[in-house]
């Protein structure tokens, strides 16, 4: 692993393997999607090539064998059956095993390698591979050949019944994405009418991959700018799975007398939509002005007046062969005619072999940076932030000695503050990665579990693009695996039970991420059997955690699932149910300064909701003073601060003290006692009471006073030799002193 080339190879292959896994899993669901096979093939090819370069010949050979297999899938010779998908996934494990050996983290699983290579033979030697798959495949292939130049094949039936010609054995033409050039010149009155170009742009963004360029040339100078008019126009490209009709249906609302809102399908979306679209304008004009050729006229009327359903119908009725013939015939005509043909063909989903639109590769320039370097950079920025606040204090001191000098310094410090904040924001941005990076590997986990346990489980992912700090994302992985396993094992019932209960035999687990007020919410939801609150309650009683007479809300009952050693699972399985899970999940989430909540409906399913901060590096802090020391409380935990009246403070026998706030009794903790410090105020009626909350529990903390409130850079104490109970970390104050950040969850216990 010393060689940098090898190291780079390992890093690259690690990424490819992840992509490969996702590709294979998707292919299993859509075995006839050509772009997927292409992607998998390409990945395998890259591994082979790379392995050859770094002299890993065994690995290169191995990848080569699978590349060959995939090549045959690609050419349509064989179809990817579930068996083949399993083999490909095993091969993936095989590749991983090679990588382990290269990394030096494990031995080569020779048994797996041999087995998978042998299994290739099954697909290689035999046209019709083993078992039930063969029949299915025969029946799929034969008709395809028979009907190669078949009768009316209505495109929509292609997925349902495999009777299309062999050349269009792929679904891609059906589902694959198409490119459109867009030209959005809205009416300048648009904003006055209460409409907004953003509405359309957002809508387009949702249905596909949108790249727009604003054109500023029509914006007048500031003095003559009419603020209520729209001066901008946009052009660009949209790559979407939607048909032209669907697109037209969206755009139609924005078209009008003064507006020029149109689109044009393109064969391959241009590299630079900004430039190409200027060409589009002129081409459009040309099309409008020249009116020779019957086909073009027809198209124009269709585009303009005829209902779109009718148009689609007409197109699908056409025989593919006839259409191809027509196309080739017309290609021989003028170039302008050719464009028109394209225009007519794409909405009709041309069944030609080569996909109309290869996936667009956007070239975003990027470099690979070790996280370690980012960490260092972030630490440096953190120091700069601290120095900045020290400078701020200093300028105040200088001001009292020399006012004009102090004024100058203070001005400079304020200017610098902006750059520092920007720097801080940017470095945080750089560290953000989509949470999907830990969601997608779950597909494999779910698939393997479902196969092994004879369950049918479908994993859905929403909001995978939501971004979280890399560290948070990584540390979330463990708890997430745990929760998904819980859902699969205890949540989703077996297919028979599900059917009996009137549910779809396939269970669904939903992984969902979304952003909410500076937090990221991650939900793990299943439509399984749910958790019976009564069973939890009884179990807690039998474990003597609560007394049978205790009255608890449902939320509180579910919260007990997080107590160490708590489980309601009647049998222990190999993946979960040992009762050591949920409390460690909770600990992990709290280590990320997050919270976890369970809600469940018996028979309907369970929802676990994680609330996580965007980053662990910086929090909004409230500085409080106890004695001579300043502590920091995460502002998000603070509800309010009050100075209670004597009658609000109640003492309970052996149960401590309570503070009554608006009818609610909240336990009081004298922080100085907990921290063994000598405070300025011993009594809550003299000092200040901070009401903090974690999850649904509240606590009053007696402090001397609040001194400040600002964002603080968190310094982990794990890098030191000591763990301090009740302290989550440390930060550095403006005067350079260290201040401890209170660990609110642990103060509640």
């Amino acid at each position: 692993m010393e060689s940098p080339v090898l190291k780079e190879f390992v890093e690259e292959v690690d990424e490819i393997l992840q992509d490969l896994e996702q590709g294979i899993l998707q292919l299993e669901g859509q075995p006839k999607k050509k772009s997927l096979v292409d992607r998998i093939f390409r990945n395998m090819h890259t591994i082979k090539g790379g392995a050859g370069m770094v002299m890993q010949t065994e690995l290169a050979d191995y990848a080569h064998k699978f590349e060959n297999l995939l090549d045959r899938v690609r050419s349509g010779e064989i179809i990817c059956t579930p068996e083949m998908a399993t083999l490909l996934l095993d091969a993936l494990d095989g590749l991983n095993s090679f990588m382990d050996r290269i990394r030096g983290t494990g031995d080569l699983n020779q048994e797996l390698i041999d087995r998978t290579l042998k299994q290739i033979g099954v697909f290689e030697s035999d046209e019709t591979p083993a078992a039930g798959a063969s029949d299915q495949q025969k029946s799929e292939q034969k008709p395809q050949q028979d009907q190669a130049s078949a009768e009316d094949s209505v495109q929509d039936q292609e997925t349902a019944a495999p009777k299309s010609e062999e050349q269009s054995a792929w679904d891609d033409e059906e589902e694959d994405e198409k490119g459109y050039l867009l030209n959005l010149k809205f009416s300048s009155e648009m904003l006055r009418n209460g409409s907004d170009p953003l509405l359309l742009i957002n809508e387009l963004n949702e249905i596909g991959d949108l790249t727009l360029f604003p054109h500023l040339n029509t914006v007048p100078e500031l003095k003559s700018l009419e603020p209520e008019e729209l001066h901008l126009w946009w052009s660009g490209k949209l790559v979407t799975g939607k048909s032209a009709e669907e697109l037209e249906n969206i755009l139609v609302f924005y078209q009008g007398d003064n507006a020029d809102v149109n689109y044009e399908p393109v064969e391959a979306p241009p590299e630079d939509p900004g430039l190409a679209s200027t060409g589009l304008v002129s081409r459009q004009q040309a099309t409008h002005s020249s009116a020779d050729g019957p086909t073009e006229k027809q198209i124009k009327t269709e585009d303009g007046t005829e209902p779109f359903e009718e148009k689609a119908l007409e197109k699908t009725e056409e025989k593919p062969q006839a259409e191809q013939a027509k196309a080739s015939e017309e290609i021989n005509k003028t170039g302008e005619m050719k464009k028109t043909v394209e225009q007519s063909e794409i909405p009709a989903k041309s069944p030609s072999k080569t996909p109309q639109n290869e996936p667009v590769f956007q070239t975003v320039q990027s470099i690979r940076v070790a996280v370690e370097k980012l960490d260092k950079l972030q630490n440096l920025v953190g120091e700069t932030v601290i120095n900045q606040s020290r400078l701020h204090q200093l300028s105040g001191q200088i001001m009292s000695v020399d006012e004009s000098l102090g004024e100058m310094l203070s001005q400079f410090v304020e200017d610098n503050e902006k750059s520092v904040r920007e720097l801080q924001d940017q470095i945080l941005q750089v560290r953000m990665i989509p949470v999907g990076s830990i969601f997608t590997p779950m597909r494999r986990t779910v698939r393997d579990f479902a196969n092994r346990n004879k369950k049918k489980i479908n994993l859905e992912i929403e909001g995978g693009e939501t971004e979280l700090d890399k560290t948070v994302t990584e540390q979330l992985h463990g708890p997430l695996v745990h929760l998904v396993r819980n859902s699969m094992d205890h949540g989703i019932e077996d297919p028979e039970t599900r059917k009996k209960n009137g549910k779809d035999s396939t269970g669904t687990i939903l992984l969902k991420a979304s952003q909410q007020e500076g937090y990221v919410i991650v939900e793990i939801e299943d439509d399984g059997g749910g958790i019976d609150p009564k069973a939890v309650f009884d179990s807690a009683v039998s474990k003597e955690l609560i007394s049978p007479s205790d009255e608890l809300t449902e939320l509180e009952i579910y919260q007990m699932l997080f107590l160490p050693g708590f489980t309601t699972a009647t049998e222990v399985s190999d993946v979960s149910g040992r009762g050591v899970g949920m409390d460690s999940v909770k600990r992990d989430i709290e280590a990320l300064l997050g919270t976890i909540e369970i809600s469940s409906t018996l028979g309907k399913g369970t929802n676990v909701k994680l609330k996580l901060p965007l980053t662990l590096a910086i929090i909004e802090g409230m500085m409080i003073e106890v004695g001579s020391q300043v502590f920091t409380v995460p502002l998000l935990s603070v509800n309010e601060a009050i100075r209670p009246l004597p009658k609000q403070v109640k003492k309970l026998k052996r149960k401590g003290e309570l503070v009554e706030i608006r009818g609610e009794f909240i336990p009081l903790l004298r922080l100085h006692e907990r921290l063994s410090l000598k405070p300025r105020f011993e009594e809550p009626t003299e000092g200040l009471v901070l009401v903090v909350q974690h999850a649904n529990r509240k606590q009053c903390l007696l402090v001397d006073e609040i001194v400040d409130q600002r964002p603080v850079v968190i310094k982990s104490l794990e890098d030191n030799f000591i763990q301090i109970p009740g302290i989550a970390g440390a930060t550095i104050l403006g005067d350079g002193r260290v201040s401890f950040i209170l660990d609110v969850p642990s103060l509640l216990n």
């Binding site: 063994s676 000591i722 301090i724 109970p725 009740g726 260290v738």
Partner: protein, 173 residues
């Protein structure tokens, strides 16, 4: 180095270092009556006693607090207190040796730093049976130089996790 005039003695020492790569370079410091040595590779830097040490709640008394070293939060241990010696008033000449073990940092307060020396392996005697003030568990051995004896401190043991955990257990019940 070219312009520096080295005495014969220093030259000899340098030659010793160059020719004998089996041995260790030590930083020596004074604590009470004795001279101690620490492997120089474990030492990150030396600083004078900082202002504004933050006390750590619930810690044994020899952990005197934490301070900010250019953005790093570093705990400070008073070795006199740790070894049960009479505690001295800390002043501006008190020195903190910042040691780094396994990526973790800690500051050790000593009376003063003496020297950097090189000791050959054969001069190191790995014994723990000595009449010293310090608890012998924290002693790795003794190194003999020309005219004195340096006690080698076992920094790994001094800062081992179990040390801290056991201490914290006794402190916090």
């Amino acid at each position: 180095m070219g312009s520096v005039n080295l005495s014969d003695e220093e030259m000899e020492e340098m030659n010793l270092e160059l020719t004998h790569n089996e041995g260790a370079q030590l930083i020596t410091f004074i604590l009470g009556e004795e001279k101690y040595g620490l492997d120089i590779l474990a030492v990150r830097e030396l600083i004078s006693y900082p202002e504004g040490l933050t006390q750590i709640p619930g810690m044994p008394d020899f952990i005197v607090g934490m301070f900010n070293l250019r953005g790093l939060v570093i705990p400070v241990m008073d070795l006199r207190k740790k070894f049960g010696m009479a505690s001295e008033e800390l002043h501006e000449y008190s020195v903190i040796i910042i040691v780094q073990v396994e990526e973790k940092n800690i500051g050790l307060i000593v009376d003063s730093v003496a020297d950097v020396i090189f000791v050959k392996e054969e001069d190191i005697q790995e014994t723990t049976e000595m009449a010293v003030q310090v608890d012998t568990k924290f002693i790795k051995g003794v190194a003999k130089t020309k005219d004195e004896m340096v006690i080698l401190m076992d920094i790994d043991h001094l800062l081992s996790k179990s040390q801290f955990e056991s201490l914290m257990d006794t402190e916090n019940g």
